[in-house]
Symmetry: C2
């Protein structure tokens, strides 16, 4: 395993060089967070479809358990059980606009991951990077368990577990456990744990901080890189359900699926489930005893248990929904945790937006009215008073101080931006598919997907290293 | 499937151009022998070990079900459920001698398969090609079911089912069903079905022809490319036993295996089996209720049922041994078929050589004395009179006409050449491993093998075509 150990030292040095002034040392995490034998244990896989141009180049890396879809180059990195999607990469010739200036892509956009260490990280892409729009770049970055890197450039970044960086450009910064940022260019910043921060200069700023002690209850990473807290207990309890899927070459489709819907063979579907037309269940999603209406989707690392979705629902990456009833077009943001129970069901009215990184851990039945914006930490109905507001009321606001939330700016723009994005997600996922080419989305495009599997060397100096490989053409 | 159909047309045209003067048209075989949906159904796989340098390049081909081990480039070819081994490819710098002239390899030897169509073909390599020793070349060639291409250059060649070309160089020739040739440079020749021909100019010639009607009973290919006969019935009856193995990512080891022995996870091991130290069971071998002594091996497409091997036994590719007892160092040649039964067991005495393409289909118990050379078609003890001779007696011969066999030349050289080769095979397979590096062979080297799986596109114009890929470095 000499080469693998050298690789880990190499990544630690590259990340630490960038984060030295931020007082961060990632070395112990890299060495302790994943036992060495696990790094050699899992194969990686990439998808072949007719709708995504095929190109991958993997060099001097460990890719155990990671899934690839869009064009991607990985160099000197460890990607452990991560999902590198890239299904919205821009094609050559696409004209993009940044700050009023248009520029045309001279080649297809490619995800480039270099000198980085990602653990169970979801890398999605809808890049807003004005620097080099041809490259979706992750450089000298460490992303801990279940973090989300979404449409951004990261250089010299540390992400804590369950942290999400969304449409942001990050240079040399630290993003704390379970924090969420969507705030443009972040350089040499430290984002505190449990800080939910959405900032668009001149437009609005949404700023929520979890009460002291809450994040630690759900997400906690000790100094040796070991993850604990309620989220990891919840995930570990279900982890064995994935074992049989990942040991089959062509896992059986987990259920009968309507035409134009897609359930990944790498998803868990248990118990009594039904899914509607144009719905999408991504790999590593987990559904048990639940109904998903037409056009609903469950993205990577979602868990939907004993719940009912009325349709056109988005559950963003890492969302968990238990004993809940979600009305039509309810949106559940990244890594949100809606835990109802038999005696304490959660009901979310139609068109409501559950903000990313919201925790609703119900100790009694909780009902959220139609058209609400919900955020923060909710355990009982009364908590809604400071953490829920009607969307059309919010749209009229210019400022709000409510509980731990501070909002400044144009409420209307904020709501419109969110709703626009939800529509975009539904369109991209094919929720509105009507047979026309224009309405085809991920659910329809991935119908004829096949998966190729590849493993590391199992002995000698190269043990744990994956072979150098190039698949397809870069052009 | 437009691309796949174009590919098949392309191969047919390239092979037919070469074989036009031989009155052969392969087009119907290419189009009919494998249903189109089977071409898209199977993944291909390649092995990663620490002992074989890793390099593959696959372009514009269908590789369904094929296994790769050594360096290989495949262009515009269909390789269906074939085994392309290449574990004896020569390294850069190796000095080879042909006809007294020495030359040094300027790069590692690479298998190059171009414009060819191989069905369930075993490609092994121990090349004696003086033209370009860096390239093990298969060009414009069609090889039908269970044929063997062993250490040779083939250009514009048609091989019938169960045919073997061994250490020969073939240019524009036709090799009939179940024939075996080891005869140097063959250009514009047609080898009849069931012709077993070993010819070394100036040294010896072994020439056996199956009686009329026998080959057809065991191997028959109709005009539409459909295979029938006893061999294919035998194989089809056991084909389902491979299904579970090929649908697992990491098939469970089929049995407890002694240290320094190797049983491929892609072999079938059923019932009560035991295998000895330093023994080797290759992928696609099939063993049921049998015992293999120390250093015994079962190569690709071997079937060993209800049999006992005393040790140091070689079963060459495609050998089938049923209800038999093989003494120490008995060699069973390519595609030989030894079918005993409960009441008609076959016993082969130690150190005997069962020639390639021998059929012993016992209707009564048959006992072959120690140190025999056996060939031809045997169904009862009396048949040995014309198809079995003591090796030390054969070694004294200068000529022999016995039954359908004609032998001319130096019997001593013939026997010595065979025995030398058997020793070479045992050494290469690691049968003599004693812990020293010098004695390590395939059984020890493949201990830490892992397998990577890859599939074709499943829809659109590229349906059935495998992605272009390059793995490792060619140098």
């Amino acid at each position: 395993m000499e080469k693998l150990n050298e690789l880990i030292d190499h990544i630690a040095s590259r990340v630490n060089v960038n984060l030295k002034t931020m007082n961060v040392d990632v070395e112990i995490f890299l060495k302790e967070a994943i036992p060495a034998d696990k790094l050699t244990h899992y194969y990686a896989f990439y998808a072949l479809t007719t709708d995504h141009p095929l190109y991958f180049r993997f060099r001097k890396s460990n890719l155990g358990g990671t899934y690839f879809l869009g064009k991607c180059e990985v160099d000197r990195s460890v990607l452990y059980k991560s999902d590198v999607r890239g299904d919205e990469l821009k094609d050559k010739g696409t004209v993009v606009e940044f700050n009023g200036i248009s520029t045309k892509l001279y080649q297809d956009e490619i995800i480039q991951i270099t000198n980085s260490f990602l653990i169970k990280t979801l890398v999605h892409n809808h890049s807003k990077n004005p620097e080099i729009p041809e490259y979706f770049k992750i450089l000298n970055t460490v992303a801990m368990h279940y973090s989300n890197i979404h449409g951004t450039t990261t250089e010299g970044v540390y992400l804590g577990p369950f942290a999400t960086i969304d449409l942001s450009i990050m240079h040399n910064c630290v993003v704390g456990d379970y924090s969420y940022v969507q705030a443009g260019d972040l350089s040499r910043r430290t984002i505190d744990p449990g800080h939910i921060w959405i900032y668009y200069e001149g437009l609005f700023e949404f700023d929520y901080r979890y009460p002291k002690g809450v994040v630690e209850k759900y997400v906690s990473l000790d100094k040796s890189g070991k993850l604990s807290g309620e989220f990891s207990v919840f995930l570990r309890e279900r982890q064995n359900d994935f074992a049989s899927i990942y040991s089959a070459v062509l896992p059986d489709p987990p259920m009968d699926v309507p035409i134009n819907a897609f359930v990944s063979p790498y998803a868990v579907v248990k118990g009594n489930c039904a899914i509607g037309e144009n719905s999408l269940v991504a790999q590593r999603a987990y559904i048990a005893d639940s109904t998903l209406g037409t056009g609903a989707n469950a993205q990577e690392n979602c868990y939907i248990l004993n719940s009912k979705y009325d349709g056109m629902n988005v559950t963003a990456h890492g969302g968990k929904v238990i004993h809940s009833h979600l009305g039509r077009k309810v949106f559940t943001g990244f890594n949100s945790f809606l835990r109802g129970s038999e005696n304490a069901k959660i009901t979310v009215g139609a068109k409501s937006i559950v903000m990313p990184h919201t925790i609703i851990d119900a100790t009694e039945p909780i009902t959220i009215p139609e058209g609400s914006l919900v955020w923060g930490y909710i355990t009982k109905q009364d908590d809604l008073a400071t953490q829920c507001i009607a969307l059309d009321e919010f749209a009229k606001l210019k400022e709000l101080d409510l509980g731990n939330l501070t909002f400044r700016g144009d409420g209307d723009q904020f709501v419109a931006a969110f709703q626009h994005r939800i529509e975009h997600i539904l369109e991209e996922n094919g929720a509105y598919f009507d047979g026309s080419d224009k309405t085809r989305g991920h659910a329809q495009k991935t119908q004829s997907v096949s998966f190729n599997l590849f493993q590391p060397f199992l002995a000698g100096a190269e043990e744990g290293m994956f072979p150098t490989m190039t698949i397809g053409d870069s052009a």
